[in-house]
Every structure is written in structure tokens, then in C-alpha cells.
């Protein structure tokens, strides 16, 4: 007999985090993001801050918090690059907002949903960065579709264990 499961509204409640976690996890993500390419240049394809933004957004389920988290993490990331400030800030603010909105409608603890979410948001961020670069800062670099697909796959693979790791810091509000 098939086993039926359901997700109650209670389980869909918002989660909160200790302020230290809210502060240190994004910093750790940006730090790791800066250190990993030093070990192997190809690690630059990852975007750990994006994964953290998605995780906090879907866990808190607050679009405002998601947008603000995305903005701060994105600006922090921009500050370390030579790019104009705001490129990642805008992209991640939109991602944070949308991820929080998605968190209302789907069970974000389901691994398949997590895979789909990370893959989609990573591709969306690539598209956003392309459009921001093209139309706001006149960056003429072409969109490398296969590279961006590969980036989405790599980030999704890395995101799943990170999500499970960060689940341990969640606390029910």
C-alpha cells in the first residue's frame, strides 16, 4: 500500500536564525568563494554567496528579508571584484525576493525542489547578470550558454549538501 505523506502549514512556517549565523554564514561564503579559486581556478564557477542567499530566503520566507539579504551579500561580493558596485547586488536582491516568494508555495525541504530551485535561480542570476552588464554598464561580453548551464549544474551539486548543513542552524520562529 502506498504511503502518503503531506506537508502541513505548520511545517511551512517561517524559520529564523541566530544573529551570529545571519552575519557569519554570508561572510564565510564570500570568504570561501575568494579562497577556493586560489586552490584551483575552476572553482570560480561556483557562487557560494548565491546559495546562501537562496537558503536564507526560502527559509525565512520573507521577500523583504530575502531582497535585503541578497542586496548586502551581492554588494559585499561586488566590493571584492573590480566590477561596478551593484551588479551582483541587483541580481541577488531579485533572486532573494523570488526565492522567498517560492518558499511560500513549495516544500523547500524536499530535495527535488531544492535541486530545481537552485538550478533555476542560478540560471536566472546568469541571465540577470548578462542583462545588467549589457544594458546598465555596457559590458559587451557574450552570454556563454553552455558555460552558464555548467555553472548552474555545479552550483546545484554543491548547494544540496550546503543546504543540509545550514538546516542545522535553523530554528522555528
Amino acid at each position: 500500500m502506498a504511503e502518503h505523506t503531506y506537508t502541513s502549514r505548520r511545517e511551512l512556517d517561517q524559520y529564523g536564525f541566530h544573529p551570529a549565523v545571519t552575519l557569519l554564514v554570508p561572510v564565510a561564503a564570500v570568504l570561501l568563494q575568494a579562497e577556493l579559486p586560489k586552490l584551483w581556478g575552476r572553482f570560480a564557477i561556483l557562487d557560494l554567496p548565491l546559495i546562501v542567499v537562496i537558503f536564507f530566503a526560502v527559509s525565512r520566507r520573507s521577500p523583504i528579508a530575502g531582497a535585503l539579504t541578497g542586496t548586502f551579500v551581492g554588494l559585499f561580493q561586488d566590493g571584492l571584484t573590480g566590477l561596478p558596485l551593484g551588479i551582483n547586488g541587483i541580481a541577488k536582491a531579485i533572486i532573494g525576493y523570488l526565492a522567498a516568494s517560492v518558499g511560500f508555495t513549495v516544500d523547500v525541504d524536499n530535495v527535488i525542489n531544492r535541486v530545481a530551485m537552485n538550478f533555476f535561480f542560478c540560471l536566472l542570476q546568469s541571465a540577470l547578470l548578462y542583462f545588467i552588464g549589457r544594458f546598465l554598464v555596457a559590458d559587451a561580453r557574450p552570454l556563454q550558454l553552455w558555460h552558464e548551464l555548467l555553472r548552474a549544474v555545479c552550483n546545484t551539486v554543491v548547494a544540496i549538501p550546503i543546504f543540509y548543513l545550514l538546516d542545522t542552524f535553523r530554528r522555528r520562529d
Binding site: V30, L31, E35, K38, T81, G82, A93, L136
Partner: protein, 385 residues
């Protein structure tokens, strides 16, 4: 109104956040465009934000880097000591060989300097450098930028050239007290004036979005071949002339910028695995004292070699003379009582004399203009095929 704000609170916050950042971007873009080909100029507030971002991350990076170095040092000093003696011997030999090479290069440089002085060139030699270690990266493949552990306290300034022993790697961007940003040459905003070593064609290398280094301002030229070395031209005012940039990897038409070609360069330095770099903090128009010393040493050794060779050669002649004096037919005193001339070795007599054999040709005074050649001048036998 309150209900409208409450209803669209989330969307309004997002719009406000995006709008603010868009305005911020719009204010930065002219500064970036104005500085094309030079250092991208940031506003004061943007610089402050960059400073704080770096101030949060770089101490941690420094810590991680230091810990990594300690682990590596422990491993190399106490654990991985096998073959150290052989390696030491090999390295000593390598150093000796390199010193010889350096001395000869210094002499070449000195000669080149003399020629350039004659031609009126203004050559810049590297006078002082500061060694630095790479402690972190920008973390993005859209921005090829790394952080080094030296800053303005160590004498670094923006726009100073950075190189490794293999070739140039980039130039400094933002410099803070103890940290500096190094913009790599494969970043799309980086550039350097170069010259193709054998064809002497000048160009500008730039980074691409894919992290490659390209020359994009040259039209198709059959003389440009893959494998040709590319060196700095010194025309950009950042990199001293003559530093290795890389080697031409491929040449293809650039469909977006016809009739130009996209010449891809393989950088001489491994930009993906940078650990130690040298920041060029000063240049000068003459050779540095150490190189000058090496050049003088090389010159002296060349002179010594010439003296040694002449001594050896004179010894050969003296030996021959001694052997010759052993022969009874050579008198020590001339027939008329004068001292004998130095004995010149004479060739042995030919087995089959011909017209080329010494002594077979009659003296010029004995020859008659227009007369047929003598039998002695003719070969004894006609060639047989």
C-alpha cells in the same frame, strides 16, 4: 494609501532596492568608461565600500594563507625530506648555471644598451621590486583580480606593474595600507602594450570575458605565426619594455571586429596558480648595480678567455718552433750572421701536385701576356667521369 503600501510592501521594497542600486551603477559607469585604457576610477564612496569589503575579508584570508604556509612549511621541513640532498646538489648546479647565463645576458644587455643609446632609445630597467604573496581572489570568474599581502606601507602604488619570473601578470588597482588588488592581464578591463618579438609588430593585449588574453587591434598579417613570443613594448607607461607576456597560441579572424584578427596569447605566467609575485616599484634608465657588476664580470671573463686562448695559441706555435729547432737543417743563426727569422711551419709536399700546389705556378715576372698556359699549370691527368 496605507492599504496600498501594506499590500505592495514587498514589491515596493524590491523596487526601491533595485532602483537605488541602478542609480548607483549609473553614477559609476561614466567613471569606468572615462578611464578606459587606464585605471578605472571609483568614486569616494565606492572606494570606501570596496575598502570595507576588503577589510572584512583580507585579514581572514591572511590568516588562512598563513596557516596554509605553516602546514606547508611543517610538511616540507620535517616530513618531506626525502631526496633533499640530491635536490640541493641539483639546485646548486642550477644556480651556478643560471649565474653564468645571467652574466652573459647582462653582457648582452650592456651591448644592447650601448646600441640603444646610439639609436637614442630611452630604456627603462627594473630598479626595485617588492615580493608579495597572493592571499585571495575576487571569487568571481567575471573579474580576474587577486589580493596580495603588501600595500602602501611597503611602497606599493596603484598602476605599478606586477610580474613573476615567467612574465607579466598584471598591474595594481586599489592599494590599501597592507593589501592591494592586482588586476590580472586576462581581465576584460586590463590591457598592456606589446610587441611581437620576431616581426616587431606592435599591439595591445586585453583580457576577454572567458579569461583569455588576446591582441585584437591587428589586421591579418601572414608574418604573424603561432608560437611567436610576445613581449611588452613599454609604450603603455606601466610595464617596462622587454618583459615576457606570452606566446601566440592561435590566430583567427574576429567576426565582430572585421578586418581585425583575434590573436590569442598563452600567458607566460600561470595566471590561475599565482602564489608569489614581484611588484615593480621603480625603474631606471641604467642597469642596476648588481647587473652592472655581472656585466663587468662577464666582460672580464670574456677578456680572460681571450687572453687564455691567445696564450694557448702562442704555446702551440712555440711548441712547433721548438720541434722545428730540433731539426738539424734549421740554423739558429742566419747565413749572413743575422738572427734567424721565426720559423713558419711549411705544408708537406703534395703526393699528386697540380696547378694549385704551392710552387707549381711560375713567377709573375716569367709569364708572357697572351701566351698559352704552361704545362706545369695544367693538371697532369684529365678528369675521368
Amino acid at each position: 494609501m496605507d492599504s496600498f503600501l501594506a499590500r505592495f510592501k514587498n514589491s515596493l521594497v524590491l523596487i526601491a532596492v533595485v532602483l537605488l542600486q541602478t542609480i548607483g551603477l549609473a553614477m559609476q559607469v561614466p567613471r569606468q568608461s572615462d578611464a578606459l585604457g587606464g585605471r578605472p576610477g571609483d568614486g569616494k564612496r565606492v572606494s570606501q565600500l570596496r575598502f570595507w569589503s576588503a577589510a572584512i575579508v583580507t585579514p581572514l584570508e591572511r590568516l588562512i594563507h598563513g596557516a596554509g604556509l605553516n602546514v606547508r612549511h611543517f610538511w616540507s621541513s620535517y616530513v618531506d625530506l626525502r631526496h633533499t640532498r640530491e635536490q640541493n646538489h641539483d639546485l646548486q648546479m642550477e644556480i651556478a648555471r643560471l649565474r653564468e647565463e645571467q652574466a652573459s645576458f647582462a653582457e648582452d644587455a650592456r651591448q644592447g644598451r650601448r646600441v640603444q643609446a646610439l639609436l637614442g632609445f630611452q630604456q627603462q630597467y627594473i630598479a626595485s621590486t617588492v615580493a608579495a604573496q597572493v592571499i585571495g581572489t575576487s571569487g568571481s570568474d567575471r573579474s580576474r583580480l587577486v589580493y596580495i599581502d603588501k600595500g602602501s606601507k611597503d611602497g606599493l602604488k596603484p598602476d605599478q606593474a606586477v610580474m613573476t619570473q615567467d612574465g607579466i601578470v598584471g598591474k595594481l588597482r586599489d592599494v590599501w595600507a597592507h593589501t592591494a588588488q592586482l588586476l590580472l592581464i586576462n581581465d576584460p578591463t586590463a590591457g598592456a602594450g606589446v610587441i611581437l618579438e620576431s616581426t616587431r609588430i606592435r599591439g595591445i593585449v586585453r583580457g576577454t570575458g572567458g579569461g583569455q588574453v588576446e591582441i585584437g587591434n591587428l589586421t591579418a598579417d601572414s608574418r604573424i605565426k603561432p608560437g611567436e613570443r610576445v613581449i611588452t613594448s613599454g609604450g603603455d607607461g606601466v610595464f617596462p619594455r622587454g618583459l615576457a607576456v606570452g606566446m601566440i597560441e592561435s590566430i583567427r579572424p574576429d567576426p565582430e571586429h572585421q578586418p581585425y584578427t583575434a590573436i590569442t596569447i598563452k600567458p607566460a605566467a600561470d595566471l590561475a596558480r599565482l602564489e608569489e609575485v614581484l611588484v615593480i616599484t621603480g625603474t631606471q634608465a641604467t642597469l642596476p648595480p648588481l647587473a652592472q657588476l655581472d656585466a663587468d664580470t662577464a666582460l672580464a671573463s670574456v677578456k680572460r678567455a681571450a687572453d687564455f686562448a691567445s696564450e694557448r695559441l702562442s704555446g702551440v706555435h712555440e711548441g712547433e718552433a721548438v720541434n722545428a729547432t730540433d731539426a738539424p737543417v734549421v740554423p739558429a743563426i742566419g747565413v749572413n750572421g743575422n738572427p734567424a727569422l721565426p720559423i713558419v711551419p711549411r705544408p708537406q709536399s703534395a703526393l699528386h701536385p697540380d696547378r694549385y700546389t704551392p710552387g707549381s705556378t711560375p713567377r709573375a715576372g716569367q709569364l708572357t701576356p697572351g701566351a698559352p698556359s704552361t704545362a706545369a699549370a695544367k693538371p697532369e691527368t684529365s678528369p675521368q667521369f
